[in-house]
């Protein structure tokens, strides 16, 4: 199978969808002729022009509200925020309008819209490193999508664009150049289906976004210690495929959730709570979490390394969990 980077695979998915449906348009700063800060739209401006690849003023709240209105009236906007941090100025529009319009109109309107934003620490400093997965998981009416592998970047972006509801599509900056096999032709990945990315029998590690990669590296380290780790990539946090996690836990009886995002009220807390509610008697030890430190994302490499989960710290947490 051919190999593409994460970003190229996602762009291929976007290009296929834009060719299929004239009502899809992309907005963002520098997504027109320039092709996007993260190369998300390279080549598309020449094909579709400014109405469908709309460079915006720095008006995150404004164009988020505008795109919400356009979606209500039949368009299918894709908002390219570059960094999730920039999306925060638009939270009022996302929460009060976008996520609620279908429900509060009693199903009379729909809001098909995709919000893309780069997440994660990558020497990007406190204003360009947000993860904040659980803020969006907390809200009724939103899908939260966290692709890790290029094939999923493409397949999940296509599904996101076709979904008639708002989708928060979060792309870790350290994944953007990751290469991997991507199927030829139409490739759609449904929401709510986790992927078991490594089979194991001694413990389950659920990673989120980039920490899936670090969890796989940790699993290699653990293998040398005689510990067989199963690694799960939820792929979508909302809806969350708890069944796949529970099935794994019923085999391994131990669960470690690894998330670069903050621990309090985080995705790991939610997963741990649900597993304890529905799989308590399968557990031989408490569910453990390994999170990024509870500080804003630091800039300097040694500071950053000190706050994010690494293969080593994941392996260490897994070893500790094995003797609980």
């Amino acid at each position: 199978m051919r190999e593409l980077t994460f970003t190229d695979a996602a762009r291929e998915g976007l290009a296929e969808e834009m060719a299929r449906d004239d009502m899809i348009f992309v907005v963002g700063e520098g997504i027109g002729a320039r092709g996007g800060n993260f190369n998300t739209t390279v080549g598309l401006y020449d094909l579709y022009g400014e109405k469908r690849l709309r460079d915006t003023p720095i008006s995150e709240r404004g164009f988020t509200g505008l795109c919400t209105g356009a979606a209500v009236l039949g368009a299918r906007p894709v908002i390219d925020f570059m960094f999730l941090d920039f999306e925060l100025d638009a939270l009022g529009e996302i929460i009060n309008q976008m996520s609620r319009l279908r429900w509060m109109s009693n199903g009379q309107v729909k809001v098909p819209i995709v919000l893309r934003g780069g997440v994660g620490l990558a020497s990007t400093g406190p204003h360009h490193s947000a993860n904040l997965f659980s803020i969006f998981m907390h809200l009724p009416g939103l899908h939260v999508v966290t692709p890790v592998f290029p094939a999923d970047a493409k397949g999940l972006l296509k599904t996101s664009i076709r979904t008639d509801d708002p989708v928060i599509f979060l792309e870790h900056k350290k994944l953007m150049k990751l290469k991997g096999p991507v199927p030829d032709g139409e490739h759609l990945v449904p929401f709510g289906q986790a992927s078991v990315v490594r089979q194991g029998k001694d413990l389950t590690i659920v990673g989120i976004s980039f920490t899936v990669i670090e969890a796989l590296n940790a699993a290699n380290l653990l293998e040398k210690e005689g510990i067989s780790a199963e690694v799960i990539d939820p792929r979508t946090l909302a809806p969350l495929d708890l069944a796949t996690i529970l099935e794994s836990v019923s085999k391994t009886h131990r669960l470690l959730v690894v998330d670069e995002d903050f621990s309090p009220c985080g995705a790991g807390a939610e997963i741990a709570a649900q597993v304890m509610e529905q799989g308590f008697y399968e557990l031989d030890a408490p569910v453990r979490r390994l999170n990024g430190a509870f500080v804003p994302g630091p800039y300097s490499p040694p500071l950053e390394a000190a706050v994010i989960p690494s293969a080593q710290s994941i392996a260490k947490a897994a070893q500790a969990l094995m003797v609980e």
Partner: protein, 328 residues
């Protein structure tokens, strides 16, 4: 029969009477809501449109069902003027299953896409952005629909105003921004909140026309809106219309209405009641007789009463439906 005012506006009798009918329907329905609130039939808050009827009426008279209106927390009048059935509105305000949103939202969450009404709102500002998006969708689909945002003087000091008007100007979106300047953002006077001499004047900074009209004169609103809608439909971009008007009741029903405005000011504006003025104008002009107006008024009063009765007699929503429509 034709009617003229100090502008070059010319209306047929049918058009002229239709404006009165819409204003009366808003007024009588609002009075039903006031009574229902006082009786305890309304579980939440309501912001009355009484005194501002000429604005919604004059603007919406130019709109088609497929034009999109985004409204405010004081939005019953916009909903009626856009063609929503009063019983669906009052039932929603009462939290009934027969309400336009099944009782999910109440007064500030009225929706009826079948007549192009995309919502009253509990948040000040977003209507400006959402209507701009409707304009964007029309451009994308290459049709001649327009988006209309209603907002108040309070909304004009919200960031959404700057971002929305700036983008609408930059992209020449088919949008009409209708500012109902009733002088108070909740209870904060505009003159206190801004040193701007005029809201309409701000449009110049965004590169499109802004006009200022007497919002209690339905003909002045009608004329300004007609020009703005034509401009938008023909691809010439947005217009800002500032309508000077006044709410004669408290910010919301049941709220203390003192300490920020004088009773003399309220009485002065009541004397400039838009319906009273328009009825007198129609009669002075010879467009309609007292008898015709009385007959119209009696019929509309009955319609409003029937709508309120329908709402009162309607069932409450089924609690098991509360999780419906979260996702497609």
């Amino acid at each position: 029969m034709l009617i003229k005012n100090d502008t070059d506006l010319v209306l047929t009798k049918e058009q002229a009477v239709k404006l009165l009918r819409t204003m009366l329907l808003i007024r009588y329905c609002e009075e039903q809501v006031v009574k229902s609130y006082a009786r305890g039939d309304i579980p939440g808050g309501v912001h009355m449109y009484i005194g501002e009827e000429a604005v919604a009426t004059g603007v919406c008279a130019h709109l088609r069902d497929d034009d999109a209106v985004f409204s405010t927390h004081r939005g019953h009048g916009h909903a009626i003027a856009k063609g929503m059935k009063p019983e669906k509105i009052i039932a929603e305000v009462m939290g009934k299953a027969t309400g336009c949103s099944g009782g999910r939202g109440g007064s500030m969450h009225l929706f009826d896409p079948s007549v192009g009404f995309y919502g009253t709102s509990g948040i000040v500002g977003p209507s400006i952005l959402l209507a701009s998006g409707a304009g964007y969708a029309a451009q994308l689909a290459k049709n001649d629909r327009v988006g209309v945002a209603f907002f108040g003087d309070g909304g004009s000091n919200n960031g959404a105003f700057h971002e929305g008007l700036n983008m609408a100007g930059a992209w020449q979106l088919p949008v009409i921004f209708v500012c109902e300047n009733n002088m108070y953002a909740t209870e904060v006077p505009f003159s206190y909140a801004s040193k701007s001499p005029s809201i309409a004047g701000r449009a110049q900074g965004y590169g499109f026309p802004g006009v200022e009209v007497d919002g209690n004169n339905v003909l002045a609103v009608y004329q300004a809106a007609g020009e703005a809608v034509s401009r938008a439909r023909s691809g010439n971009g947005p217009t800002l219309i500032e309508c000077h008007t006044y709410r004669t009741r408290a910010h919301s029903e049941g709220m203390r209405d003192t300490g920020y405005r004088t009773q003399a000011e309220v009485e002065a504006w009541k004397a400039r009641d838009p319906i009273k003025w328009y009825k007198a104008t129609l009669m002075a002009d010879g467009t309609a007789t007292q008898e015709e107006i009385d007959a119209l008024e009696a019929a509309i009063q009955k319609t409003a009463e029937e709508a309120a009765n329908f709402a009162r007699q309607s069932p409450m929503p089924d609690p098991t439906t509360v999780t419906n429509y979260l996702f497609s």
